[in-house]
C-alpha cells in the first residue's frame, strides 16, 4: 500500500490542543468525536491514549534501529503502525511525517530517514505532552466528578476550548 497524505476529514479546524510553534499537535474535535461515538464507554479514549503513550518510545526505538540497519521494510512497518495510532487523536503533523518515513522505507530510499526521524521525535514530544495533559485533565475531572464519565468528558471538552 502506498502511503497517503494525512487525514483530510477537516478535524483540525474544529479544535486544537498542544498548540505551539508547529501548530496543532492533536485534534480535540477528533478526540471528542471518538469519545462521543462510544456512549457509556467514554473512558476508552483514556485507555487509547495510555496505549499510545506506552507504545511511542518502543516504536521510535524500532524506527531508529530499522534506519540503523538499513531495513526499509521494518522502517515502513513501524512508521505505518505509529501513524495509525497517531491518526486516532488527529495528530496530523506526526501522521504526515510518519507517512513520509513509511514511503521512504517502502521505496528503500533511507537517505532522508534520519532527518525525518529527528522531526518525528520532536513532533512526538509535542503529541505526547498534549495527550498527557489531556489524560491528566480527564483523570482530574473524573476525580472531581466522582467518576461521572459522561459529565467529565463534556467538562473537559469545554475547558479546553
Amino acid at each position: 500500500m502506498s502511503p497517503e497524505s494525512r487525514d483530510s476529514r477537516g478535524d483540525h479546524a474544529a479544535g486544537a490542543a498542544g498548540d505551539g510553534a508547529g501548530g496543532q499537535a492533536i485534534s480535540r474535535a477528533r478526540i471528542d468525536r471518538l469519545r462521543a461515538s462510544m456512549p457509556g464507554r467514554e473512558s476508552v479514549v483514556e485507555e487509547l491514549i495510555a496505549a499510545f503513550l506506552a507504545d511511542l518510545p518502543r516504536r521510535l526505538g524500532a524506527i531508529a534501529q530499522a534506519i540503523g540497519r538499513g531495513d526499509g521494510r521494518a522502517l515502513a512497518l513501524n512508521a505505518h503502525a505509529l501513524r495509525g495510532g497517531a491518526a486516532n487523536f488527529g495528530a496530523a503533523r506526526l501522521d504526515d511525517l510518519c507517512g513520509g518515513l513509511e514511503e521512504a522505507g517502502a521505496r528503500g530510499a533511507l537517505e532522508s530517514a534520519p532527518a525525518l526521524l529527528e522531526e518525528i521525535e520532536r513532533e512526538s514530544g509535542r503529541v505526547r505532552e498534549a495527550l498527557a495533559a489531556l489524560h491528566a485533565h480527564h483523570a482530574a475531572d473524573c476525580v472531581d466528578g466522582a467518576g461521572a464519565h459522561g459529565g467529565a468528558a463534556q467538562k473537559s471538552s469545554g475547558n479546553s476550548r
Binding site: 497517503e4 461515538s37 485507555e47 507504545d55 512497518l77 503502525a81 505509529l82 495509525g84 495510532g85 488527529g90
Partner: protein, 499 residues
C-alpha cells in the same frame, strides 16, 4: 452461538479501539498481531468475520485474505486501508474482501460494516439450514415414530439435541443410528454447520488417524499437501463416529485425548488445533460389554456415554413397521409418480417378519418389491421375504384393521415381470446352490430386470426407470446397491451419478 470476530492489527491503539468498538455480549473477539498469528487462530477455531489491516509484519492483509478464503471461501473479511486511498480500497475489494474501512477508524462506520458482515454470515448460515432441512430424508418431518418406544426416543433426541453433550447411540445394524445422529444435529443450534459422519471401521488404523485428525504436508509418503481431518471439517457442527467399538486401544487413547483437550494434532503436525465439535458416537455392539472384557477403555466409554441413546431393533417395535413401509412407498411415489400400496397379506407379512437387518432391510425389501411388483399393489409374493426370517406367530400381532381397506391385487399385465417364474427360479437356484442367500438371489433378479430395461432403453436411464415404473433416483439407488457391474455397466458410468 456467539459470533467470533478476529481482529488483525499490529498497533496497540487500534487493537484496543477495534476491540472496544465491536465489544458486545453476543460476540467473542480475539486480537492478533499479524496475519500469521491470525491464520493460526482461525485454524484453531473458525471465525465469523475477520478485520485486518493491510500492512503488517509477517503476513500482510491481502495474503491473509487469500489464505483465509482457501480455508473458508465465503468468510467475510474486512480490510483496513488509509483514509483517501482509493487504490488500496479498490485492490481490497478486487482481492475478494467483503468490505473495507479506513483509518483513522470511525467507530459508527466500523460497527455498521461489521454488523453487515455478520448479517451476511447469518444469511449464509440460514441458507445452509434451509438446504439441510430440505434434504427431506433426514428432516424432522420424515421421522416415523409410531410405537411408544420410538416416540419416547424422539422425545429424548429433542431434549438431547438442545444440549452440547457427547452422545452415544447404540443399536443393532440397520436400526437408524445415523438418522438419530443427524436429528441430534438438525434439532440443535448447530444446524446449518457441518455434519460429518465417519465409519471408524472402514479405515485402517494409520489412515483413520489422518482421516480424523488431518495431516500436514509430507507427514507420510503420499501426503503431498496438508489436509484437514474430520474433526476440523466438522468445525462448529457435529461429528458422527460410527462403529466406535471397533477402534484399537492405541487409537482409543488418542481419541480420548482429543475429547478431553478439545484439540487435534494433525499427523506430522507440531501445533494442536482447537476444535469446536459435538461428538456423537455410535456402535452396534454393547460397548459396556467391551469395557468389561477389557477391549474398550472405561474412561473413553464414560467420556462418550454422557447421554446414552438405545435404539430398539425393529422386531421389538413392530408398530413402526407398516408406517415405515408406507413412508418408503410415499417417498418412492414422490420420486416416481407411481403410487404403490401394500396388499393386506403383504402388510401382514411385513409385520410378522423378524427383520434381522432392521429398518435398512425393510427399506430394501420395499424398494425391491416396487421394482418387482407387476402392479401398483404389492402382494405378499412380491415381497419375497424368507420364511426363515418370519417371527414366531405368538410375537406377531395381527395387521392393523386399517390394512383391510387396502385394494386387492389387480391382474398382471402380460409383459410384466413374472413373480411366479421368479419364485420357481429362486427355488431352483436354492436347490442348485445351497450357499446363495435369498437376498442375493433377489438382488440378482432385480439386477437382471434393470439390465434388461436399460438395454431396451439403449442406456437411457430415465426411460429405463419409466419402463420399470420407478423414479430415476430409485434406479440410481438400486444401481448403487447392486453394483454397476452386476447390471452390465462399467464402474465409470456409475461415478458422479446423482443420489
Amino acid at each position: 452461538m456467539a459470533h467470533r470476530i478476529l481482529i488483525v492489527e499490529d498497533n496497540p491503539v487500534d487493537q484496543r479501539l477495534f476491540e472496544q468498538a465491536l465489544s458486545d455480549p453476543s460476540r467473542e473477539i480475539e486480537v492478533c498481531n499479524d496475519g500469521r498469528e491470525a491464520l493460526a487462530a482461525f485454524e484453531r477455531r473458525a471465525a465469523d468475520v475477520v478485520i485486518s489491516d493491510i500492512m503488517m509484519p509477517n503476513m500482510e492483509g491481502h495474503e491473509l485474505l487469500r489464505e483465509l478464503h482457501k480455508r473458508a471461501p465465503g468468510l467475510p473479511v474486512i480490510l483496513v486501508t488509509r483514509f483517501g486511498s482509493i487504490a488500496a480500497a479498490v485492490a481490497a475489494m478486487a482481492a475478494g474482501a467483503f468490505d473495507y474501512v479506513t483509518k483513522p477508524i470511525e467507530v459508527v462506520e466500523l460497527q455498521t460494516r461489521v454488523k453487515r458482515a455478520l448479517e451476511l454470515d447469518q444469511l449464509q448460515h440460514e441458507n445452509s439450514v434451509l438446504r439441510q432441512g430440505l434434504s427431506g430424508r433426514f428432516g424432522p418431518d420424515s421421522v416415523v415414530a409410531e410405537s411408544i418406544a420410538s416416540r419416547k426416543l424422539m422425545e429424548l433426541v429433542r431434549r438431547v439435541a438442545a444440549s452440547h453433550s457427547t452422545v452415544l447411540i447404540q443399536g443393532e445394524s440397520g436400526t437408524g443410528k445415523e438418522l438419530i445422529a443427524r436429528l441430534v444435529h438438525y434439532w440443535s443450534d448447530r444446524v446449518g454447520r457441518p455434519f460429518v459422519a465417519v465409519n471408524c471401521k472402514a479405515f485402517a488404523e494409520s489412515v483413520l488417524e489422518s482421516e480424523l485428525f488431518g495431516h500436514e504436508k509430507g507427514a507420510f509418503t503420499g501426503a503431498i499437501s496438508a489436509r484437514q481431518g474430520c474433526f476440523e471439517r466438522a468445525s462448529g457442527g457435529t461429528l458422527l463416529l460410527d462403529e466406535i467399538g471397533d477402534i484399537s486401544p492405541e487409537f482409543q487413547a488418542k481419541l480420548l485425548r482429543v475429547l478431553q483437550e478439545g484439540e487435534v494434532l494433525r499427523v506430522g503436525g507440531a501445533e494442536p488445533r482447537r476444535v469446536n465439535v459435538r461428538v456423537v458416537a455410535a456402535t452396534n455392539s454393547a460397548l459396556r460389554d467391551r469395557v468389561a472384557a477389557g477391549r474398550f477403555r472405561e474412561d473413553l466409554y464414560f467420556r462418550l456415554n454422557v447421554i446414552p441413546i438405545q435404539i430398539l431393533p425393529l422386531r421389538e417395535r413392530r408398530e413402526d413397521i407398516l408406517p415405515l413401509a408406507r413412508h418408503f412407498l410415499s417417498r418412492m411415489a414422490v420420486e416416481t409418480g407411481r403410487h404403490v400400496t401394500l396388499a393386506p397379506e403383504a402388510a401382514e407379512m411385513l409385520v410378522n417378519h423378524a427383520w434381522p437387518g432392521n429398518v435398512r432391510e425393510l427399506e430394501n425389501a420395499v424398494e425391491r418389491a416396487v421394482v418387482l411388483a407387476r402392479t401398483d399393489i404389492i402382494s405378499a409374493a412380491d415381497l419375497m421375504l424368507d420364511r426363515a426370517g418370519a417371527a414366531p406367530p405368538a410375537r406377531a400381532p395381527a395387521p392393523a384393521a386399517a390394512e383391510s381397506g387396502l385394494a386387492t391385487p389387480a391382474p398382471a399385465p402380460a409383459d410384466a415381470f413374472d413373480v411366479a417364474e421368479l419364485r420357481a427360479r429362486r427355488a431352483a437356484a436354492l436347490e442348485e446352490s445351497g450357499d446363495i442367500g435369498l437376498s442375493e438371489y433377489l438382488d440378482k433378479a432385480a439386477a437382471e430386470r434393470i439390465a434388461r430395461a436399460l438395454a431396451k432403453a439403449k442406456g437411457n436411464r430415465a426411460e429405463a426407470a419409466r419402463s420399470l415404473g420407478i423414479g430415476r433416483a430409485t434406479l440410481y439407488r438400486f444401481m448403487r446397491r447392486l453394483g454397476a457391474e452386476s447390471i452390465g455397466l462399467g464402474a465409470s458410468h456409475e461415478s458422479g451419478e446423482p443420489g
